[in-house]
Assembly symmetry: none
Homo-oligomer: 206 residues x 4
DNA sequence: CATGAATGAGTATTCATTCAT
DNA sequence: CATGAATGAATACTCATTCAT
C-alpha cells in the first residue's frame, strides 16, 4: 500500500515478487550492483529473465523498491516502538540497537542497504536521499528533545551531531558487513551509544 | 607500498600521466566510476584512447593509482607536520583540520576519494583497504597515546573510537562534497573535534 | 479464396473476432505493422492477449485475413454493381469511384490496405499478391473490352496500362490517407479518370 | 559535402563506409528493413558489429543516409543533364528514362529505394518525404512549363498529374524489381511516356 | 611514444506465443 | 471459451582493450 508497488499491481501474489527481490538482494550483495546482471538475478530467483519485468520496471527499480521498502519498515518499527515516555538518550540508544538488530538479522540486506544502495544510477538518487534524510531527521528530533529536557549539551551544532551519529552507526554496521558478519553486532550498541554521548576525553575527575 | 606502479616505468615524464590522472578524476567525479568511459577520460585529457594504456594497466588501475597516491601524500604531509611534541588531542585536531583542508583544496579529488573510490571493482578492494587502514592506524595510534598520557578515557573500545572518528570526519566531508562544496569546511574542524572529544551529553554541572 | 480462414472454425460468432480485427486495423494504422504489438491490439480490443490466438494463428494471420476479406468484399461489390451493360470507360470510372468511396468510408482500413499491408512478413506476400492481382485482372479485363468496342487505343501495352491505372488510383488514395483524410476524395474520381483517358498532352486542336 | 555525412567525419576513407552501406542495402533488399539485423549487415560487410556504429548513428541512420545520398545523386544527374533547351515533354521522357536506367543499374538499391525505404521508423519519415517531394516538385515544374509553352493541357489538376506520373513510373519500377529484374526496363520508357501523354482513350480518328 | 580505427564480448529489455487455471 | 502470467529467444548498441601505422 504505502510501498512504491510493482509495475502492474494486478499480478497475483504468488510470491514471485518476493522471490525476485530476495534473489536480487543476494546477487547485489555478492556481485555489486553494477556487476549484477538481470540474467543472474533471474536464475537466482528461479524465473525467466522476462518475468522480472512483470514486477519491476527495470534493474534500477529493483534497488529503488528495496530502499523504499526497507526504510519504511525500519521507521515504522521504530516509531511503533517508542510512542511511550522515554528520555532522548534512551531513545537514541534504542535507535542504534534497532539498527544493529535489523542489520544482523539479514546480512545481505544490510550489505545492499549500507553499501550497494549508494552505487546505483543517477535518477535513483532521490529515493536514497529520502531514506537517508528520514534517518537524519529522526536523529535531529531526538537531539532537540534532549536539549530541551537538559540531557544534551546546547553548545553543539545539530548538523554535526546528526552527521556524527549517523556516520558512526553506519560505519560500524558497514565494517561488520564487510568483515563477513563474523562477530556479534548488537552488544556494541551500548558502548557505542555511551561513546557518542560521553566523547573520548577523560573527564578531569574534578 | 611501491606495488602496482605504472605499467611501463620507462615512460618519459612529459606530463601525460598527470594530464590523464587529472582528467580521470574530473570525469569520475562528474559521471561516477562505472558510468565513466575511457573515451571520455581520453577526450578530457586531450589524448587518444590508446595512450591511456601506455600509462595505466586499465580503467581500474587509474583509480587504484589515484588512491595510493593520495593516501601516500596525505600521510606524508601529516607525519612531516607532527614530528614535534604535542598532546594526542592536539594531534587529533590537526589530523581533522588537515583532512578538511586537503578536501577543500580540490573538490573533484575529494569527491572521488570519498565517494567513487568505494564503487570500483572487486579486485581493487585491497588498495582501498590499505588506504583506509592507514587512516585507522593513525587514529588508533593517537588514541593509544592519549590513553597513556591520561587525556583519553580508558573505558572505551579502541575499535569503536577509531570507527567513530573516521566515519564522522568522512561523513562531514562527504556531505560537503555532495552539497557542491558550497560552504567553508575548515572552520568545522574545531567544533567537530570538540564534539568527538566531549560527546553530546550535558555534563551534570557538578 | 477460402484459404487460411480462422484457426478454429468452430468458434461462436460472439463478436470477438470482429472486435479484434477492428482493433488490429486501428493499431496497425496508428503504429505501423511491425511496431504494433499483440498486447496493444488485445488492449484495444478489450480482450486478453491469449484470446487473440483463439481467432488468429498469429500476428501475420491478422493482416492476411484482413487483406483477403477486404479484397473479397471489394470485388463482390464491384461485380454485383456492374452486371449490366456499360461501356469500358464507364466501368473504369465506376471502379475508381468505388475505390475512392470505400477508402473514404474507413480511413483506418484504407491506411492499412494501402500502406501497412505491404510491410508485413515474407510469407504473407502471396495473399497480398492475390489481392493485387485481382485488381490488375479487373482493370485488364476492362481495357481489353474497351479495345474491342473501339473506345480504347490499340497501340498500348496492356501491362503498362494496368500498372498506370492501378498505381495512380493507389497513389491518390495513399496521398489522401497520409494527409490525414482531410479533403474529399470522391470528387477526384471524375477528373482522374479523365486524365487517365485523355493523357496530359494538349491535343493539337486539329 | 552536401550529403548528411557519417557520425564521425574524421574517419579515414578506407572504404569501410561504402562497404557497410552496400552490404546494408543488399541485406535490406533481401530480408526487409525490419527483419534485417545489425549482425547480418556486419557479417555481409566483413566488419565487426561495433564498426557499423563508427560510421552510422544507428540502424535507421543507414537507411536515412542511403535515401539522402540516392536522392541527391539522382537529382544532380538529372539537373546536370538538362540545363539545355528542351520541350517539357522531352524532359519528362528524359526523367523517366533516367529513373529506369538508374534502377536497372542496381536492383538492390532500387528495391530498397522503392520498397523498403518506406518501411523504416517514424522519425525518418522526414528524409523520405523530402526525397519524394523533390521528385514531385520536379514533375510539377515540367508540367507547368509544358502548360506555358502549350504542349500540355490546361484543364488538368496539377496535383493529379504529378501523382499520376510519379505513381506510374514508381509502379513500373517496383513491378520490375519485385519480378526479380528479369526483363529490360529501359525500353519501357518510351511507350510509358507516350501513354502518360496520350492517355488510353482512342482519339475519335478525326 | 602516440594514435584512433577496429574489435566483439557482454546485456538490458521487448514481445510473440503458450498453457495452467 | 477466456484469461494473463510466464516464458526465453532475439537484438541493438556500448565500450574496454588492442595493434597496425
Amino acid at each position: 500500500m504505502t510501498r512504491g508497488w510493482k509495475v502492474e499491481p494486478k499480478l497475483k501474489t504468488n510470491g514471485k515478487y518476493e522471490q525476485i527481490m530476495a534473489a536480487a538482494i543476494r546477487v547485489f550483495a555478492e556481485q555489486g550492483y553494477f556487476q549484477s546482471t538481470i540474467a543472474q538475478i533471474a536464475r537466482a530467483a528461479g524465473v525467466a529473465d522476462g518475468t522480472i519485468y512483470l514486477y519491476f520496471k527495470n534493474k534500477e527499480d529493483i534497488m529503488a523498491q528495496f530502499v523504499n521498502q526497507q526504510s519504511q519498515k525500519f521507521f515504522d518499527t521504530f516509531t511503533s516502538m517508542f510512542s511511550e515516555e522515554q528520555s532522548a538518550l534512551e531513545r537514541l540508544k534504542a535507535l542504534i540497537k534497532l539498527h544493529f538488530q535489523v542489520s544482523q538479522e539479514d546480512r545481505y540486506m544490510a550489505l545492499v542497504y549500507q553499501v550497494e544502495m549508494r552505487r546505483s544510477d543517477r535518477l535513483m538518487k532521490e529515493d536514497i536521499k529520502d531514506a537517508l534524510r528520514m534517518y537524519h531527521d529522526l536523529v535531529g528530533q531526538i537531539v532537540e528533545e534532549g536539549q530541551q529536557d537538559g540531557t544534551i549539551r546546547h553548545d553543539v551544532q545539530i548538523g554535526l551531531v546528526k552527521r556524527m551519529i549517523f556516520a558512526t552507526v553506519d560505519e560500524v554496521i558497514t565494517s561488520w558487513v564487510m568483515a563477513g558478519g563474523k562477530y556479534d553486532l548488537v552488544p556494541l550498541a551500548e558502548p557505542l551509544a555511551d561513546l557518542l554521548m560521553q566523547g573520548i576525553q577523560a573527564t578531569p575527575t574534578v
